[in-house]
């Protein structure tokens, strides 16, 4: 493992911590009834979003999911605009119109979180299609969950992506659950084989290992830019919280032991932090400092967002149609 990439490593570490901090605050906002609606926490899956997005440029596109805060942070978004969006404020990335389930830092190539499971599979593939047509070398990454592989749309768009050699990477965040059901109970055969059947080169990766994810993505992005796409990544990962913030009593579908096991032995941040220390890339103090700085940044952003103003009611029928 080369140690010349200190800066990259630190950025990856930082971005993972930023996601965790964002989610901890979002969860708090929800639990204290300061946040409207409902939200799905990304905590536990940070290495996926960060490992992938760090291999992309801001011009590359991603599409995101109902569990989309992590992708948004990883693709370069600011806390302030994100918290404003979560609270329905005017300064939110979507002027408060989207909320948690549609959050996106569009300027950094995020085409949007989506509340329809699998709903963005066509959009990501279409973004890759337009990249190919415009010969601009851009790549599109389509994030979706293991449960989303049950949507027929995926097979339709994989077929077209494969036929036309589109620069798209399908990234399945395989956290083992679809809402309150183990995905293995609702997915027959092999998810990876399904992509392979369309002639799509596929990879199974440890989604808790940010470096493994990042290195694979870098390779695939490069190959996509050369016209060798599409690709499929099956990333084994885990969500720490319930399906959504209100999903508290989950013993009936997921054992406490299993949760504890993942959190204590496979946490992507802890493990990467330890590795950084063991490789002498950072000191414990430096890590603490990073964490502290981010904690502060998140708190400031929350305070800012809580104070920020709501959109004027006249905005309600703005943006139905583009000029």
């Amino acid at each position: 493992m080369s140690k010349t990439n200190t800066e990259d490593y630190l950025r990856m570490y930082t971005q993972m911590v930023r996601i965790r901090a964002f989610e901890d605050n979002a969860n708090q906002l929800y639990l204290s009834a300061k946040m409207p609606g409902l939200t799905h926490m990304y905590s536990g899956q940070e290495a996926v979003a960060v490992g992938i997005c760090e291999a992309l440029t801001p011009e590359d596109k991603i599409t995101s999911t109902h569990r989309g805060h992590g992708h948004c942070v990883a693709k370069g978004a600011n806390f302030r605009e994100m918290f404003c969006e979560l609270l329905g404020k005017e300064e939110g990335y979507c002027r408060g119109k989207g909320g948690s389930m549609h959050i996106a830092d569009q300027g950094n190539g995020n085409l949007g979180a989506n509340a329809i499971v699998g709903g963005s599979m066509g959009i990501a593939t279409g973004a890759a299609m337009s990249a190919k047509m415009q010969k601009n070398g851009r790549v599109a990454v389509c994030f979706f969950g293991d449960g989303a592989t049950a949507q027929g749309l995926w097979y339709e768009v994989m077929n077209m992506a494969a036929l036309w050699g589109l620069p798209v990477i399908y990234a399945c965040e395989n956290n083992g659950y679809s809402e309150y059901t183990k995905t293995e109970e609702i997915a027959a055969g092999s998810i990876t084989a399904r992509a392979e059947a369309f002639g799509i080169e596929s990879f199974e990766v440890d989604g808790q290992d940010v470096l493994a994810v990042n290195q694979l993505t870098q390779k695939l992005v490069e190959r996509c830019r050369k016209g060798e796409g599409p690709f499929f990544m099956n990333l084994k990962t885990y969500r720490y919280h319930g399906h959504h913030v209100g999903d508290i009593n989950r013993d009936y579908y997921r054992a406490k032991d299993e949760e504890a096991e993942w959190k204590t032995t496979r946490d992507p941040i802890t493990n990467f932090g330890k590795w950084l220390e063991s490789e002498k890339i950072v000191t414990t103090d430096e890590l603490v400092e990073i964490n502290e700085k981010i904690r502060k940044e998140a708190e400031d952003a929350v305070a800012y967002a809580l104070d920020a103003k709501y959109p004027d009611v006249s905005e309600v029928d703005m943006h139905v149609y583009a000029a």
């Binding site: 409902l38 329905g88 002027r95 408060g96 119109k97 509340a115 709501y310 309600v316």
Partner: protein, 331 residues
């Protein structure tokens, strides 16, 4: 009479029909152990087992298709579609297949299935989890469409739907799952196509669907204090539509507002208003007014979302104008 929640009423209706008829079964995402995210179906898998309360993959077109085939071959599936917004995903199976099979087969095949789903905004769920899309299915011949306005209707209409030999779509308002209403212990069914006069009145008719019935009732209370007597009518099913009851009221009051939570344009208010106008034109003192949801995707921000749907105050204000002889839009 005991009071139970709308959620419980739906649960009871399904349980009773599953006990009565072994061919009835449930199908959908997280309907079994989880009892749906809204917990409406809790307890059913314990009583009926996983052979009749079936968790599906996240494949809406697929499991609606399965239900159509199962309904054609001797069973009576009840499909749970978690959010009404997902109806867009199943339109082909519902409208090209289920709705047309009986007709295309010259009456030889039946599709006795129920699609239960929901509607309703102001839950801060944004544009893809807040729509009220009943107008779309009401437009397709071969489907029946029910819109319960309370626990009482929810139970009686669900039981009728399950026994109907046609595909029926039921829209429950997700904001009302915890609302209680008196529901008899004894069995009852509510026939389709029979409107319910929720409140009698003489000055104006408020025709309202689903949760808008509550809005209309609250408006009627406001108006009563001002000496305006509003009749509130709930059609209960929009296909078939009980035109007679609506017409009778409008002929009496000479004024009407149709209130619905679907988008106003090209929604159901235009149809209802037109039928009334066509058949009671010479009784009308003013055009039948319509109040639907705004023609905007449902915004997330509470500051915006609340203004998109009709409110009691809004209804009262319009009723006041109509009764006061103000010719609202009329040139």
């Amino acid at each position: 009479m005991r009071e139970i929640t709308l959620s419980k009423a739906v649960n009871e209706a399904i349980a009773e029909e599953m006990r009565r008829d072994p061919t009835v079964f449930l199908l959908g995402e997280d309907v079994a152990e989880a009892g749906t995210p809204f917990k409406v179906l809790s307890g059913l898998v314990e009583e009926f087992g996983t052979e009749r309360v079936i968790d599906t993959p996240i494949s809406e077109p697929g499991f609606v298709g399965l239900a159509v085939g199962a309904a054609m071959t001797g069973t009576r599936p009840i499909v749970d579609l978690m959010f009404g917004d997902f109806i867009f995903l199943v339109m082909d199976q519902l409208c090209n297949q289920a709705a047309k099979t009986h007709y295309m087969s010259g009456g030889k095949l039946n599709v006795p299935m129920v699609l239960r789903t929901n509607m309703g905004a102001t839950r801060r769920s944004a544009a893809q989890h807040s729509q009220s899309l009943h107008a779309l299915v009401a437009h397709i011949p071969g489907l029946k469409v029910a819109m319960p306005s309370s626990a009482y209707e929810a139970k009686g209409l669900m039981k009728t739907a399950i026994r109907d030999n046609n595909p029926v779509v039921i829209f429950e308002d997700k904001l009302m799952y915890q609302d209680k209403a008196p529901v008899p212990e004894e069995e009852y069914l509510i026939p389709f196509g029979v409107a319910n006069i929720k409140r009698e009145g003489t000055d104006i008719t408020l025709i309202a669907t689903s949760s808008m019935v509550q809005v209309a009732e609250k408006a009627a209370e406001i108006l009563e204090k001002e000496g305006i007597s509003a009749e509130v009518i709930d059609p209960r099913t929009i296909v078939p539509l009980d035109e007679e009851t609506l017409l009778k009221s409008v002929r009496k009051t000479s004024r009407a507002i149709v209130i619905d939570e679907g988008h106003q344009s090209y929604g159901i208010t235009g149809e209802i208003a037109s039928r009334l106008t066509e058949k009671a034109f010479y009784h009308l003192d003013a055009p039948v007014m319509r109040m639907g949801a705004m023609d905007v995707p449902v915004p997330f921000s509470p500051a915006l979302e609340d203004v998109t749907v009709p409110t009691p105050e809004g209804v009262a204000a319009n009723a006041r104008k109509l009764c006061g002889g103000e010719l609202i839009h009329a040139a």
